[in-house]
Symmetry: C2
Amino acid sequence: MAKRSAALELAILGVLAETPQHGYELRKRLISVLGLFSTISYGALYPALKSLVERGLLVEQDEVGTGKYPKRARITYALTEAGTAHFNAMVADSGPGAWDDDTFAVRMSLFGQTDVSTRIHILQGRRSRVEDRLANLQTNLSKGRERLDSYTLELQQHGLDALEREVRWLNELISREQGAAGSGNPQTSQVNKK
Amino acid sequence: MAKRSAALELAILGVLAETPQHGYELRKRLISVLGLFSTISYGALYPALKSLVERGLLVEQDEVGTGKYPKRARITYALTEAGTAHFNAMVADSGPGAWDDDTFAVRMSLFGQTDVSTRIHILQGRRSRVEDRLANLQTNLSKGRERLDSYTLELQQHGLDALEREVRWLNELISREQGAAGSGNPQTSQVNKK
DNA sequence: GTTAGCATGTAAGGAGTTACATGATTTT
DNA sequence: AAAATCATGTAACTCCTTACATGCTAAC
């Protein structure tokens, strides 16, 4: 029922699915591996972990006596079975918010834990979303061509270019995946490859 | 003391500085002219307007008997003197958050109400911000080249390309402004123009 | 020893979204 | 008449950010 929360939870589960970790390190990985959340405050991370534990998706493992640092107050988090199931469900999900910038980025950076058909599904879903935005912007732009001042125009044109480039990028990725798999259904895109 | 609030308030003041309007229409203009806020809910807009009125930056003018629709419950908002002053201060501001995506976009779309030096200032500030992000990403990427899987790499590379393009775009805009004005200080950029 | 980084958490406060609530006006 | 859209607002809820509070460990 949240917005970024969905992306954040997915990211947490995804990283922990690879390696159980404690909060402090988890945060660093989220920042570097996913690179997306420029800053994830502890005020967001710990409550999120807590919530995941309460829902039975994670378990806390107090790290006692790990060699050199016997009494360090570390809490290692690991996925439960339910957590793994939930993670898989979230990755494959197509619900609202599934193609948002953040959520898509998280899902793509977790592609390593996914199969080809899921990857293609996500890439195509994202492409639809971007194409929608593109269409909106174009409509908007052609409608108000004259009424908008040059700076607004310039700004929106730049946004438009970025979207077109993303579609082309997604097309390439999709082709690559389809090449790796058997043959999928042919692509339908509104943007030409140059 | 807010984040988006800063961008939203700036946008509201900027649009009202051109033409006083009532909430409903204001929202539509914010969406189409600025194009940035895909959705601005009334639950965000009206409280924001209320706050601006309370702070003496806007005045409400009950629209009575405007020809055909005598009793329509419209409230037209217009800037006060203090509001105009505040708007000008915000546009020229360099405080934290001044170069964020949203805030920058709002400021640029309001360039029509600005003088050349302010425009250059804003464009350069934005460029610095983008270059910082670029540097971070590059560091991050060279550090973890091997540890990151190919998808994460691909994703970050795409983000990097987008940032580089934005810097080039900003360089062009800055040159254009400097050409229009007298001669400004020469540019220093980390990204070559290819 | 003292600074810097590791490590976990809470509390206050702000901002925004969704859903709800109401009513006028215009179009079909 | 019914449906769409204009028009304004509120309440509950969720989430995040900032700042604070605590202590251990490593390095200089």
